[in-house]
């Protein structure tokens, strides 16, 4: 039921319109500015497990997080901060221990950026402008990170729930590097990602 204060405001809307839509409309309407205010929404899941800076503990911690109740995992083909293969291992270990694939949300950042020092990477850098490299990258992930089939899955497993694309430079021009809070030598050297 719409607040009573709004009922008078609703009156002109009644003519030729269905009542049933009005409570929703009026709740979102600012009576002074006639502007639509989007209702507050809360995406699910709210909390994502960030696998950055876990290094050789990435698999163990990813599994632990998923078993503890996280439903979403964030990783990236960005070896300075992330270990994507170990995130895959941890995810698979969680699934084998009983976590359902269809309850998980796997997210990765498929493109390496020029800011990624290739010396620390065992991967070929991928450029968004090169279709062959993109095909190779997505295809390789399917083969590298196969997930076991699970009961109750709706449709084929896409393998990746969400891919996040980064701009050519991780550190955008004009964005000052925060002076504080880059923990660890590697982070200080790179001064980039971290969660």
């Amino acid at each position: 039921m719409a607040p009573r204060a709004n009922l008078g405001f609703m009156t002109p809307w009644r003519r030729g319109r269905s009542w049933c839509l009005l409570p929703t409309i009026v709740r979102q309407l600012d009576p002074f500015q006639l502007a639509m205010t989007p209702p507050t929404t809360y995406p699910r899941p709210l909390l994502i497990y960030g696998t950055a800076w876990k290094e050789d503990k990435t698999a163990e911690l990813t599994k632990e997080a998923l078993v503890a109740g996280f439903h979403a995992v964030d990783t990236a083909n960005y070896p300075t901060a992330y270990n994507e293969p170990l995130t895959g291992d941890g995810t698979q270990a969680a699934i084998l221990s009983g976590i359902k694939r269809e309850d998980l949300f796997v997210r990765l950042n498929p493109i390496d950026t020029p800011s990624q020092p290739s010396a620390t990477s065992d991967r070929t850098l991928i450029r968004a402008s090169d279709p062959n490299q993109i095909h190779a990258s997505v295809g390789a992930r399917q083969e590298r990170d196969p997930l076991p089939p699970g009961p109750g899955r709706r449709g084929p497993d896409p393998g990746v729930d969400r891919a996040v694309l980064r701009p050519p430079q991780s550190r955008l021009p004009g964005r000052p590097l925060p002076a504080r809070a880059v923990r660890g030598r590697r982070r200080q050297r790179q001064g980039l990602e971290g969660v």
């Binding site: 809360y42 699910r44 950055a52 503890a68 964030d74 968004a128 980064r166 000052p176």
Partner: protein, 161 residues
């Protein structure tokens, strides 16, 4: 190019470290619209107020990272301490909940501590499932919005992307 993989190989696409002009450009040009923006939530970008408004308008999810270690003013604020005390949680978790209270947001949590994983998950689950918890947080979320505005760099004070 990645659009051709949606939704059979990749369910949804998102973007990361995008300022509003880039986001607008990609959003308008893309056939498959990004569903998510993952950005650093910190002072130099004015806490992405403009990006978050765009996300809310278009129905995109805003995913915050880089928060805990890069927001000393917020972590030291009376507000975060007060929320932490009221909910009997750590300040880090109070900060997460305030960001979630903004709406349309997700938070990246990278803790390595099993106890903290469980406490964070439990508090966020309460927030997600209990309207009373969200309602009780609302005045603090409004105070949080004001704090973000106060901390936003003014012209000449910092760079706004």
């Amino acid at each position: 190019m990645f659009e051709t993989y949606v939704p059979h190989r990749i369910r949804r696409l998102g973007v990361s470290n995008f300022a509003l002009p880039q986001l607008t450009q990609v959003y308008e040009a893309a056939t498959v619209k990004p569903a998510l923006v993952q950005n650093r939530f910190h002072r130099p970008t004015s806490f992405d107020a403009d990006v978050r408004a765009f996300c809310a308008d278009k129905g995109l999810t805003y995913q915050a990272f880089w928060m805990l270690a890069h927001n000393p003013e917020i972590m030291a604020s009376e507000l975060v301490s007060a929320v932490a005390a009221r909910l009997a949680v750590e300040k880090e978790l109070a900060f997460y909940l305030l960001i979630l209270g903004l709406g349309g947001t997700q938070v990246l949590c990278g803790t390595t501590n099993p106890g903290r994983m469980e406490r964070n998950l439990r508090a966020v689950a309460d927030f997600a499932s209990d309207q009373a918890v969200r309602d009780a947080l609302q005045p603090e979320v409004e105070a949080f919005r004001r704090l973000l505005q106060e901390l936003t760099p003014q012209d000449g004070e910092g760079t706004k992307m």
